[in-house]
Structure formats: C-alpha cells, structure tokens
C-alpha cells in the first residue's frame, strides 16, 4: 500500500512539473503583452516598454520560468504582475471560495445521483428508470449557463427567494452562506446528476448480472444483503473514479458558473490572469488546481484499492 501511494505521489510530482512548463509555454502564445494590457490600448509605447522591463517580462522565457520556479520551491508564489500584490493573498481566498462551493455541490449531488442511479438500475426498464435516466441526461445536455440563467430568473428575480449572486456579505453566518451558494450548487447538480447517476446505474446493472451475484442468491442470501454486500460494493467502483475527476472540475473549472453568479472563485481568477497575461498568477493558479486534481485522483485510487482487493495486493495497477 505504501509503495503504491509513493509511486502515485512521484508520478503526481512529475505531472505537476510538466504542467507548469506547458502552461508557461502556452501563455507565451497568447496575444498581447503584460505592459500593454495594464496600461491600455492608448498608452504610449515607451511607457509600455518601460513597464515590461520593470516587471521583467522582457527577459527570455526560460529565465522568467527559472525565476518563477526557484521562488516556488521556496514556497513563494511571487507577486501578481497585474495587481502588484502577492499571488498567495489573492489565490488563498479564491481557493477557499471554490472549496466552499464545491463542497456544497458535492454534498448535494453525490448522494442524490448515486441514489438515483441505484434506484434506476433496480427498476430497470420501468417508468422510474426511464424518468431518472432521461431527465438526468437532458439536464446534463443543457449547457450550465442556460441552467444557471433559468435558475437565476426563476428563483432570484421572479420569485425573489434566493440571492442571484453567490458571495455572501462579509461575516455572514454558515446558514446564510449556504443560502447564497444554493443556486450555483443547484446548477452544478443539474450538470452532474445525469452523468454520475448513469455511471452508478450501469455499475449496478452489471453487478446484478455478475456471476458472484447469482452465486450469492443461490447460496440463499436475501435481496437486501446481496445488494448491500455484493452489488453496491462492486458497482460503485467506477462511480468513485468519475466523482473524483468531477471534483477537480468542481474546484477549478467553474469559470462560467462563477461568472454568472459573480463568485470570486479560483476559476475566475485564472481566467482573468490568462486574459491579462498575469503569468505568476496564472501559473500558480493552474498548479493549485493541478494539485487538487491529483489529490482527488489519489484519494479515489486509495478508496478504489480499499474497496477492491485486487488493486490493493498489487495485481492490477
């Protein structure tokens, strides 16, 4: 088990280094330069050149990268080129915001969709099954900004039940924060429900069909025990993997949802940094999200191996 985790960790580190290089190189391809972005289209060329020099972005790419990574290994994320304050002071709160939203969405969508998937599988082919799969799939197929706008218009504007912006006023209580986060979380539930439920349903159907399930029935176990001990345990393995990959999306990939609900999460931070070529912010933000992804996958792998002895004992990797 320790060897398995160590290996995973090593791979994760290599992935992060490669990721940082790719992002740095890709950001160079974006049009425009930092100085021009900061000073605006009407600024004097000399001022732009001067600012680029002061920011150090007129140096060769590898020098800039080396500079950035040498600070990073010492735990210094650097200064934002755009705002002239430390990157960590901006990324930290953004990450926290993203985690809050992701947590609420996660808490809502995971039990709901697994329940939906299992129910559908057990009622396979019947009206309940069809309702859950078709509804779920149609919700997933609708782009998230459409779902979000519909939710905003109905619950925020027409009924006035929930705030249309996701950020609670400073110092708000836990329940108030949840109230503010409810609409964007529901939009995310709509996006993810169909997908996770479908995977859960497929897993359960497969497990119901498997030899070991037949054996369990044949040795005289009642349906409840068979489902709990044999079916679910096997059926949920793929679901866990899917949920883990969605966690990365929930934290770093919510640019559109964050924009529509004006939520200062990390997705928006990175998006703006990329637009304005704020390299230090962009790099650090992408790395943070990369780490979140890898961590989520690591957790999923561990869970997977705990549930599946074949992986734990080194048979399959």
């Amino acid at each position: 088990m320790a060897r398995f985790l160590l290996k995973r960790f090593g791979l994760a580190l290599i992935t992060l280094v490669l990721l940082s290089m790719i992002v740095f190189a890709a950001a160079q391809l974006l049009p425009g330069d930092v100085g021009r972005n900061i000073l605006g289209g009407f600024a004097d060329q000399r001022s732009v050149d001067l600012l680029n020099h002061q920011l150090g972005v007129d140096r060769p790419v590898y020098v800039q990268y080396g500079d950035w990574i040498s600070h990073l290994v010492r735990g210094d994320l650097g200064m934002s080129l755009e705002y002239k304050v430390s990157v960590s002071s901006l990324l930290g709160p953004s990450l926290l915001h993203s985690l809050k939203l992701a947590a609420l969405a996660f808490v809502l969508v995971v039990p709901l969709s697994i329940l939906g998937g299992v129910t559908a599988a057990l009622r396979q082919g019947r009206i309940t099954d069809r309702t859950i799969t078709v509804r779920g799939l149609s919700l997933t197929a609708v782009p998230e900004f459409v779902t979000a706008i519909v939710l905003i218009v109905i619950f925020g504007v027409a009924l006035g039940l929930l705030p249309t912006t996701a950020q609670a006023p400073p110092g708000a209580s836990f329940l108030t924060q949840i109230k503010f986060l409810l609409l964007p979380s529901l939009a995310l539930v709509a996006v993810l429900f169909g997908y996770i439920a479908r995977i859960a349903r497929a897993g359960v159907i497969e497990a119901l069909d498997a030899d070991y399930t037949r054996t369990a029935y044949l040795k005289g176990l009642d349906t409840k025990t068979v489902i709990r001990r044999h079916v679910l345990r096997n059926a949920l393995l793929p679901t866990i993997a899917v949920v883990a990959t969605q966690t990365g999306y929930l934290i770093g990939g919510l640019v559109v949802i964050e924009k529509l609900f004006n939520y200062p999460g990390i997705g928006q931070r990175i998006y703006v940094a990329a637009q304005n070529k704020d390299f230090t912010m962009l790099e650090s933000g992408v790395l943070v999200i990369g780490m979140v992804y890898l961590l989520a996958t690591l957790v999923a792998d561990t869970l997977y191996s705990l549930l599946n002895p074949r992986i734990r004992y080194g048979g399959v990797d």
Binding site: L30, N37, E82, K84, V85, I152, G156
Partner: protein
C-alpha cells in the same frame, strides 16, 4: 439694466477682467452666445459668481438660480456594482480603464469637476484665471481641505500630483501631450498654483477636471502602491478595504470639506458578466450599476423597478480607413461611398434604442458647443454607387475589417458589412479579443505606428471614451503623425486649422475653425464617426440624488437611499 448691475459689471471689467473675460462679455452683449453657452464658458474661464450674475443681468438674461438642496435622507450603505473590475493596481495617475477610474473616483477629488452640462464646478480649486492668450493659468486652491491622512492640502500637493501625471508611467500623457510638460507647474503660494502651458489652450481647465480621471489630488508624499492600503484622498468617502477583482469598501469621511455626505458608506462589488450584474440589480442584491449598455442589459430598460441615469456624451466608435495603402481605400471617393451606405438613425435605434447622437464623420459631437452646423451625411446609395464608379470601382472589391470584441462593436461591424454589400464591397470581418486587437507595438515600423492591429489594419473599429472637449480627438487621431492616427491621415491644411481651433478663445472663432475642420473631414472621410452614445447607469428606485457622468465617474457625495 439697473444701475447697481451696471456698476458691478463695470467694476469687474475695470478691475478683474482680462482680455478673455472681456471677449466673453462682448459676445454675450452682441448676442453671439446663448445664456447656457455663456454660463459654460464663464465656468471654463473661472469667472466668479458675482461677475456671471452681473453679466447676465446687464444683458437681460434670467438671473442665476441656485437649486434648493434636495432633502436627503441620511444613513445607509449604497451597494454599487462596477463592471469590469480594475485591471491593475489603483495608483490614480496610472488609470487607463473604466473599473480603475470608477473605483478611485468614489474616494478622489479633482481641482475642478465637469458637470452634466459640460460646465466646470469648483472642487479643490475655488477659482482659476488665464493670462491674455490663455497660455498661463492661475488656480486658487480651497483652504482647509484635509487629506484623509490628516494632513492639510497645499499647493505642494497639487504640484506633486501634476508632476506625477506628467511622468513616464502616467495614464494621462495623451491628454497633456503638447499642452503641459514637466516643469510647467509652479507653486506661487500655499494656496496658489500656476500652470504654464506649451501652447495657448482655451479649454485647459477641463484637463484639471474629473474628465482627466487620473488627476485625483494626492498628498505630496504619496507612495506608489499605497492607494488601496491607506485612505489618503480628500473626498466624501475613504477607501477602507480592497480585494482586487472582488470588492471594495468605503466609509464616510467625517472630515470632508464639503460637510457630511448622506450615505454612511459604499460597498462595491466587481462583476465581469453583464447577465450577472443585470440579475443582481433585478434581484435586489445591488442598488446601482456604474455603467450599463443597452445592447447587453436590455431587461433593465423595460423594468419599472429600475431607473436609468443617462447623460449625453461623446463616447463613440471610430471607423478609420487607411489612406496611405495602395488599395481602393486610398481614394477619398471610395471612403465617402462607404460612409454613405450607413443608415445612421437606424443603427442608433438598433444598438442604443435611440440613446445616442448621430455622428457626422468628424470628432465634433453634437454635444460640444463649438460644433458648427454643416450638412449631416445621410444614407445615399445612388450617390455612393456614382462615387464608386467615378473611382473605377463600380464592380466593387473585397476587404477585411478588423475589430475588437467590446460592447456593441461586433454588431456594428456586421451592420457595416451588410451595408457596404449594396455597393459591391465584399467585407470579411476579423473580430479579435480586445487584448489581441491592442497587442503589438505602437511605434516604429514602415507606417511609424508599429504593428498593432488597431493602428495598422486597412479598416477597423475602435472604442473611444468621452472627452469634455474634442481637442485630443482632433489631434492624436487625425493630425499628421498623430500617435493614434489609425487612418494614417495627413493634411497640412487640417493640421493648421486644428492649431488655430485649439488656441481660439472666442466662441465665434472656435465655431469658425470647427466648421472648416468638419468640412474637410467630410470631404476626405479618413474616419467614419457613426454615433456618439449616451453614458448610462442603472439603479433601483431607492437611489436618490445620483447623476450619471459622461465619463463614468461614480460621484456619490450627494447620493442617498430613500
């Protein structure tokens, strides 16, 4: 005229009036100026209230009326949405974007403030006066003004602020270019500052106003990067916390020279999405949006719980056509033909629901008092086809229009594309992000303006902000070798006329030169000016005492929540 009025006027002309003020009174006397225009010009030249009143009384105009102060309910915090957020640090002299100027302007003050009717109101300066040819201007400062640091404002602070504005990292260089240079600002005494200009400029006081949004007066010992950390402006509110891209918080400044502002404070939330900010106002999460556009916030314009604050301005789009490339556009007849295909009233209706003035292909917006009447260009396809034929382009040609993804501009590009089809021009649109559109160098290269798309493509559309006077537009965008001359236009006669216009002191002379400039530009058509649109803000019905500013300043010292 009663005897007392005549006595006051004579006394003013004898003792205080320079040649510029005398010209103003003569123009009023001869009927060249309306009452409104007299008031506006009197405010530019810094005439005292008693002199203005004497002038109006002497020539039979209605006396000055002072509006009774609206009873404002004190208390409450106003929730303001600013879209988009500032794109960089908040040092005022570096502002170059809407988010920055709105954020700084809530706390900051200027020597003078431009009003909705383009008059100038005293702010940190109480009066100002030119010399005979308007090349030296003397400003008297308000006494007893305290910075939020506790220090009292003096001439040293104003000189230091202006020197910063003339430095290399200033965002105001384009406004001061050719008008004021380093060394031109001098302290006379603790409350007097003198500006010695590079060239006589009758409209100089505008450059000290809120329209030069970088010119927020700061203490002489202001440290770069400290604006968002320490409150140190003079305004009715002080910035007490700021999170880039997220929010800003302002509290009432108890030591404000203007007394006590009605609001306890202001909470700004930054938005990046039009739909989100629209929903936030409709859903009651915010009270006021600093800037809205008809094209992107339509639901607000039909909602009875929303009030729209509008002000006429000179914010506009320019469609420059390069005159120096060896292609079809180098023939003025082709450029005229393109301009003649546009149905401007319909464009204004579609894009702004009518909240815009129609442009006549020169920077002279209808809102400027110096704009002289010349025939308006209308859609005329027959004439356009004749011009194309005369230019040997009867069969038409293909060309690419480049522009940016900003506001209604992509829609305008499509309208132009459809319109020119009627005269056989097959236009391809290249719509870039604003970043890509303004990317690249702006100097050097064969054309002298670098490589950036916005200054070098054959035909494009660029967004231009409001200016209180058209001088910068006339100069930088159209004078030979101008830094923003995207059409690469060069006409010596035009250059001379702009110089004369800038130095002209009397209204009559300004209009005379304006007329000649407008006529030349209509003929040469280096740039199409399709419209000048109104600046719009939106708020809930609770917001009282708010006025939109043509540049987008969010000025809240008189605003209250009813």
């Amino acid at each position: 005229m009663d005897r007392e009025t005549r006595r006051k006027l004579d006394e003013f002309r004898r003792n205080e009036a320079g040649p510029i003020e005398s010209t103003l009174f003569d123009e009023l006397a001869e009927g060249d100026l309306s009452r409104k225009e007299f008031l506006r010009r009197a405010s530019i030249f810094g005439l005292s209230t008693s002199a203005i009143a004497a002038g109006l009384g002497a020539f039979g105009h209605a006396p000055l009326a002072f509006g009774a102060t609206e009873h404002a309910q004190a208390g409450g915090r106003l929730r303001v949405a600013i879209i988009p957020p500032p794109t960089k640090g908040l040092d005022p002299h570096t502002y170059a974007d809407q988010g920055g100027l709105e954020t700084g302007g809530i706390a900051g003050e200027f020597l003078t403030r431009a009003t909705q009717s383009l008059t100038l109101a005293p702010e940190l300066a109480t009066s100002w006066k030119p010399n005979a040819d308007a090349s030296v201007w003397t400003f008297k400062l308000r006494s007893g003004v305290k910075f939020q640091t506790g220090k009292t404002m003096t001439a040293d602070d104003v000189v230091a602020t202006y020197n910063r504005l003339l430095g290399p990292d200033s965002g105001a260089l384009s406004a001061f270019k050719g008008v004021l240079s380093v060394g031109g600002v001098k302290k006379i005494d603790d409350l007097t500052v003198q500006f010695s200009l590079d060239t006589p400029t009758a409209s100089f006081p505008y450059l000290t106003s809120s329209t030069t949004y970088q010119a927020i007066i700061l203490p002489a010992d202001y440290k770069l990067g400290s604006f968002e950390k320490t409150p140190q402006t003079t305004g009715a509110f002080k910035l007490v916390s700021y999170t880039p891209g997220v929010s800003a918080k302002y509290d009432r400044n108890p030591d404000w020279w203007g007394g006590k502002a009605p609001l306890d404070g202001v909470d700004v939330t930054y938005y990046t999405d039009d739909a989100a900010v629209t929903a936030a106002l409709l859903g009651g999460q915010i009270d006021l949006i600093g800037q809205v556009q008809f094209a992107t916030a339509r639901p607000l314009f039909s909602n009875s719980n929303v009030q729209i604050f509008a002000v006429r301005g000179a914010t506009h789009r320019q469609v420059p056509m390069r005159v120096d490339l060896h292609n079809q556009l180098s023939d003025y007849r082709v450029r005229q033909a393109i301009a003649l295909t546009l149905d401007r009233p319909a464009i204004v209706k579609t894009l702004f629901n009518g909240r815009a003035d129609i442009g006549n292909d020169s920077p002279f917006a209808p809102v400027y008092p110096s704009t002289a009447p010349v025939p308006q260009r209308h859609k005329d396809l027959r004439k356009a086809r004749q011009l194309m034929a005369a230019a040997d382009q009867g069969k038409g040609f293909a060309i690419t229009l480049t522009t940016e993804q900003t506001g209604e501009i992509p829609q305008l590009a499509q309208i132009i594309q459809r319109s020119v089809k009627a005269i056989g021009i097959n236009m391809t649109l290249e719509i870039l992000t604003a970043t890509a559109y303004f990317a690249g160098s702006q100097s050097g290269g064969p054309g002298g303006l670098g490589t950036t798309p916005w200054l070098n493509t054959p035909i494009n559309i660029t967004d231009w902000g409001h200016r209180a006077v058209p001088n910068v537009l006339l100069n930088s965008a159209l004078v030979s070798g101008g830094v923003w001359n995207a059409a690469h236009y060069a006409n010596k006669r035009y250059d001379r006329l702009v110089k004369s216009y800038t130095g002209a002191i009397s209204h009559k002379d300004q209009q005379k030169y304006a007329k000649q400039i407008e006529t030349i530009l209509l003929h040469d058509t280096p740039v199409i000016f399709p419209y000048f649109y109104n600046y719009l803000a939106a708020g809930s019905k609770k917001v009282k005492g708010y006025k939109a500013d043509a540049l987008g300043q969010v000025y809240l010292s008189k605003t209250s929540l009813g």
